[in-house]
């Protein structure tokens, strides 16, 4: 670390909104510096005389601080004292200084001050013309990875942390009657007037302090310095319960139906890491009845040769640094302006005791009060002229000025050089229309102010102040008050009385003369041969580059933007876009409105992923759903599988067991004695109504009319296309009362499906659906000893095969708890599904284990369940189906009724010609030649493994396991025409070049007659 400590050589002795009694130490590129509380990182760097803050993207030219706010293109730094707290893309102009802040420049590889790339950059004009990416890197494609790595490193786009961010981020939702964006003069008066009506008002501003330009203006409001008026308004607003004030909160997005997203930085100004328990950044999500945009305007720099040399700044930024931060970023200033407002920077510079070399006014005959003031101050005003070129590399050393013609497109002579270290340019103002664009509104050009203002919108939106092209303070205050009142009234609050509107009177407003429409300063050389004239600093787009783009035929401004990358940086071209459009328009001999504008998208400034994620991360990323017996599973060593959002026991390994060992043991226990599965996650839908049976017949492919009370039936559910999408067992509880089970993952979808058809097609059917998934705990007791085990737990259910048949259900008591017991089987063994109210699920589960010890009752998980059912050839909807298979494709034609009078969902779809073709992919069993080999699921079947690639693929494997009970591997999969190919061989080529051969067989590998479950 470099301990060289620089003095704050550019800091004034007095003034500004900084606290000289509170010094703040910080580190920039390894060097320790000092600033004060109230500084931004940018103002502190400037105070310490740091000129170069980065290297440019393409040409690696040294770059300095240009602006004082969100529009800053160059001072985009990497922050963070530790790896975990790294934050990229922080604008130094918006980062408040705190003790211990560590910042690094990113655009300087290998170092910002002196690097290799700058020498390449010198010839970079040839190397990296516009369209560079398209032209250079298209071929050879194999080298793209190399190019990209190099470019990203050289470009220095910042980096994400390699460690987890320890800070807390969150989201909060609000509803507002009036949302005011921006707390400058217009926003403050809008919020004040709206707040006084009692409406719910939110006022947000990206800066630490409310007031905007008023914090450093010389104007007098209601007899008070502007900043004092601000303090009074903020005090009044703070007392209103109906008003929420959000400083340090950037309104980053304006979305449909007046939905606003605000990125609030709550502790970024305090420390590298948020104080314990505090939320670092909060995303406010606001639904507003009315929105007042008072986002102000951004000053446009002028485009002149070498206008990127450190020391070239916006005129307004210079005023801000002097007046607000008490920093004069240089010694000798040349100001170039197209308008009266620009003069203020020279006045402030002079008031700070530094030398104003000249004011270069591009207008031939400026007449405003400011010109008189300049003369009074004995400042040299050079009229009808412009700074056509800057001298210097790491800092401005002088300027070349020349006379220009009246329209400003030609140098007319009188070329001479002035010595200076700072150039301020004032090219007029661009209203900050960004947010109004977010919902699709196109900005409109106004000739009178030479700028785009928000265009027509469908949002409930009002605009006030500089965003509306109203730059006079009195107009800002008046428009703000008016919009605040109108917005509140529209939202149902207050009367629009004049009394409310009298917010403030400006006492010292000065008259202005017309400004000149000038964007691109001419040079003695043609643009293509003049030194680079930068339009977009961050993406290194030059005036010449835009001319090249239009010459090459890119006439749409959207194409010019993409071809040159103008506006593609993290600053979205806040400074450069309008200049770029003007240059494109000029080179195509069109007007700016004819050329059109690109529109801005969220976010206004870069936002952290933390703020986007909020609390939805880590354990809370997605809900984890648990059954009532989950604790038991954890205690007994289960590993879990995600099924939808559910955590289901996957298998229960014992010490030292491999997964296959566990599966073998669990499978054998079920086949030999008895096992138990927690089946609570299956979807369960309670269906009541006299037409319930009819409804079931319409949504399932099989028949339901004859299902008696006390009986269960398996059903397949298809879409209108005839493709299977879910399955399950439904039981008839009473004449008009059924309970349907669905797959675990399909529960919500099936319920919505039933409601869709009931509500939109068959509302005449009397039926109600209610989810009871969570209400019942389901314990599946399966295996030859399941009856004996269950008999020990119930004394009011006759479990004998005669009385309690396969696919029957009975009510009774199990382990002292009322239960519905279903005799259904997904394992092929004698099985009972015990359903009890979920509050008692754990109790019954434990009692079953107490009784089950002597039968070696074994808990089994989903993987064992999969093996057991695959041994029986039972499908799993979603694993063995993929939305493209009919019941017939599954070999389940037995589950399709063609006798039902109603054309049930799926019937017509299944009858399509394509669905009836004999050669469709059909589900079959697969037995590998080598009984130990398990075919990978997803493996593709081919008839001839020697066929040259691309081979003809016949289908794929959907389920594949090793069956310990059978002593060989088993699989199910689709094979084209497979049902007619029993006994034939198919081949599964593997990525390693080997081929697995299998024989097509029935998918029922075990007990084809079903004798085991019918005992």
């Amino acid at each position: 670390m470099n301990l060289k400590s620089m003095t704050q050589k550019n800091r004034l002795q007095a003034g500004g909104r900084i606290d000289r009694n509170q010094p703040v130490n910080f580190e920039y590129n390894g060097t320790q510096y000092q600033g004060f509380v109230g500084d931004t990182l940018a103002s502190a760097l400037l105070a310490n005389g740091v000129d170069v803050v980065g290297r440019s993207f393409k040409y690696s030219r040294p770059r300095g601080i240009v602006a004082a706010g969100a529009d800053e293109p160059n001072a985009v730094l990497q922050l963070g004292a530790t790896e975990a707290t790294q934050v990229p893309n922080v604008r130094a102009t918006q980062q408040e200084l705190f003790n211990g802040l560590v910042a690094k420049s990113t655009n300087g590889w290998p170092s910002t001050d002196n690097d290799l790339m700058s020498y390449i950059g010198k010839v970079g004009g040839r190397m990296m013309p516009p369209g560079f990416y398209y032209k250079t890197f298209m071929y050879p494609q194999s080298l793209w990875d190399t190019y990209e790595k190099f470019i990203r490193k050289a470009a220095g786009l910042g980096r994400s942390p390699l460690e987890n961010d320890p800070d807390i981020y969150d989201h909060i939702n609000h509803h507002a009657d009036v949302m005011v964006v921006g707390a400058g003069p217009a926003g403050l008066s809008a919020a004040l007037v709206a707040g006084r009506t009692g409406a719910r008002v939110i006022l947000a501003d990206e800066q630490a302090e409310f007031g905007g330009m008023l914090l450093h203006s010389n104007e007098i409001i209601n007899g008070l310095p502007a900043a004092e008026w601000v303090a009074g308004v903020v005090a009044e607003l703070s007392k209103m319960d109906n008003v929420m004030l959000l400083p340090r909160a950037t309104v980053n997005g304006y979305h449909d139906h007046n939905f606003i997203t605000i990125h609030e930085r709550r502790t970024d100004h305090l420390a590298d890491l948020a104080p314990k328990g505090q939320v670092r950044q909060r995303m406010h999500r606001v639904r507003a009845k009315w929105v007042v945009l008072a986002t102000g305007a951004i000053e446009r720099p002028l485009v002149y040769a070498n206008n990127d040399v450190p020391g070239c700044m916006l005129a307004s930024a210079i005023s801000t640094y002097i007046k607000r931060y008490s920093v004069v970023p240089g010694k000798e200033l040349v100001l170039m302006t197209t308008n009266d407002r620009g003069y203020q920077a020279a006045f402030d510079w002079q008031d700070a005791g530094r030398k104003v070399v000249a004011i270069v006014d591009t207008r031939a005959e400026p007449t405003g009060a400011c010109v008189v003031e300049a003369q009074k101050r004995k400042l040299k005003v050079i009229k009808g002229s412009a700074v056509i070129e800057v001298k210097g590399r790491k800092r401005v050393s002088g300027v070349v000025i020349a006379s220009i013609n009246a329209v400003g497109d030609r140098v007319t002579g009188n070329v001479r050089t002035l010595s200076c270290d700072t150039v301020a340019s004032a090219g007029g103002w661009s209203p900050a229309v960004h947010l109004s664009c977010h919902t699709g509104s196109r900005p409109e050009w106004r000739d009178d102010i030479q700028a785009f203002v928000p265009g027509a919108t469908v949002q409930q939106q009002l605009v006030a102040g500089a965003i509306n092209g109203s730059y006079r303070l009195a107009a800002c205050l008046e428009e703000g008050g008016h919009c605040g009142a109108l917005a509140a009234a529209n939202a149902g609050f207050g009367e629009q009385s004049d009394e409310l509107l009298e917010v403030a009177i400006v006492d010292n407003e000065i008259s202005e003369s017309a400004s000149m429409a000038l964007f691109h300063i001419p040079h003695t050389q043609p643009t293509s041969r003049a030194p680079k004239q930068f339009v977009d600093y961050q993406t290194d787009v030059t005036a010449a580059g835009i001319e090249v783009a239009t010459r090459e035929g890119y006439e749409s401004i959207e194409h010019v933007k993409r071809y040159t990358a103008m506006g593609f940086g993290t600053d979205q071209g806040k400074l450069g876009n309008i200049n770029g459009m003007a240059i494109a328009a000029k080179s195509m001999n069109k007007s700016i409105p004819e050329t059109g504008t690109t529109i801005f998208r969220p976010n206004y400034t870069p936002i952290t992923f933390g703020a986007i994620a909020g609390r939805h991360c880590g354990e809370l990323f997605d809900p984890k759903r648990y059954s009532a017996m989950h604790r038991w599973h954890v205690q007994h060593g289960a590993l879990f599988e995600d099924v939808g959002q559910w955590k289901r026991p996957w298998y229960f390994p014992k010490t030292g067991e491999s997964m296959q060992d566990s599966l073998n043991r669990e499978c054998k226990a079920v086949r030999d004695s008895v096992g138990i599965l927690d089946a609570s996650t299956l979807g369960k839908i309670d269906i009541q109504g006299k037409d319930a049976r009819e409804f079931l017949g319409r949504v399932y492919s099989n028949a339901w009319a004859m299902l008696g009370v006390g009986k269960c039936r398996y059903g397949l559910m298809c879409g209108e296309d005839g493709m299977v999408f879910d399955d399950g067992v439904t039981a008839c509880l009473a004449e008009n009362h059924f309970i349907m089970t669905t797959t675990t993952g399909g529960a919500a979808r099936v319920l919505e499906w039933l409601e869709l058809y009931h509500q939109t097609e068959w509302s005449e059917l009397e039926v109600y659906f209610n989810t009871v998934t969570d209400h019942w705990s389901t314990l599946t007791i399966s295996g030859p000893n399941s009856r004996k085990l269950l008999a020990e737990l119930t004394n009011d259910i006759d479990l004998s095969g005669d009385s309690f048949k396969f696919m029957d259900w009975h009510a009774g008591t199990v382990a002292g708890v009322p239960a519905r017991v279903f005799r259904i089987s997904f394992t092929g063994e004698l099985s009972f599904e015990v359903n009890v109210q979920a509050n008692y699920g754990m109790q019954v589960w434990e009692k079953v284990f107490e009784a089950g010890a002597k039968y070696n009752l074994t808990p089994y998980g989903t993987e064992t369940m999969h093996v057991l059912r695959a041994e029986k050839g039972f499908i799993i909807a979603g694993q063995d189906t993929d939305g493209s298979v009919t019941p017939m494709d599954l070999g389940m034609g037995w589950c399709v009724s063609n006798k039902k009078p109603f054309s049930y969902i799926g019937k017509r779809g299944m009858a399509r010609e394509d669905c009836l073709k004999p050669n469709r992919k059909q589900l079959v069993g697969l037995k590998t030649r080598d009984p130990k080999v398990v075919i990978p699921e997803g493996a593709q079947a081919v008839a001839d493994p020697k066929q040259p690639i691309p081979m003809t693929m016949l289908g794929h494997v959907t389920s594949s396991y090793y069956s310990a009970c059978l002593g060989h591997s088993i699989a199910m999969g689709f094979v084209r025409g497979g049902l007619d190919k029993m006994g034939e061989a198919v081949y599964y080529p593997q990525p390693d070049g080997s081929v697995i051969e299998a024989e097509i067989c029935s998918p029922i590998f075990l007990d084809p007659k079903g004798e085991r479950q019918n005992v």
Partner: protein, 97 residues
């Protein structure tokens, strides 16, 4: 994020309570068997994709679970109206023009 008036709850709710279910007013044919494969395919898969006014079916998924219709401008995303299943829209393309 849309703000959607649920005609059953009778107030505006945030979009995260709803699911979009595609084009509205696509009635299931009463006699599917009389449809040719082509006609059935059109019923199943072919949907309008208008620039401007569109009628959509939505469901108040985490609210009252009721399906209803929305007349929405696909350009501006304005929701002109919401109405219950079985009701007809007040805004239609012809009238809108």
């Amino acid at each position: 994020m849309f703000s959607i008036y649920c005609p059953y709850c009778e107030e505006h709710r945030e979009e995260d309570e709803f699911h979009a279910k595609g084009q509205a007013h696509i009635a299931r044919p009463l006699d599917p068997e009389s449809y040719s494969d082509k006609e059935w395919g059109e019923y199943l898969y072919f949907r309008d994709n208008p620039r401007g006014l569109h009628h959509e079916l939505w469901v108040h998924a985490t609210g009252c679970r009721k399906f209803f219709n929305i007349s929405r401008d696909t350009l501006s995303y304005e929701i002109k109206e919401t109405y219950k299943v079985g009701e007809q829209p007040h805004f239609t393309v012809n009238q809108d023009k």
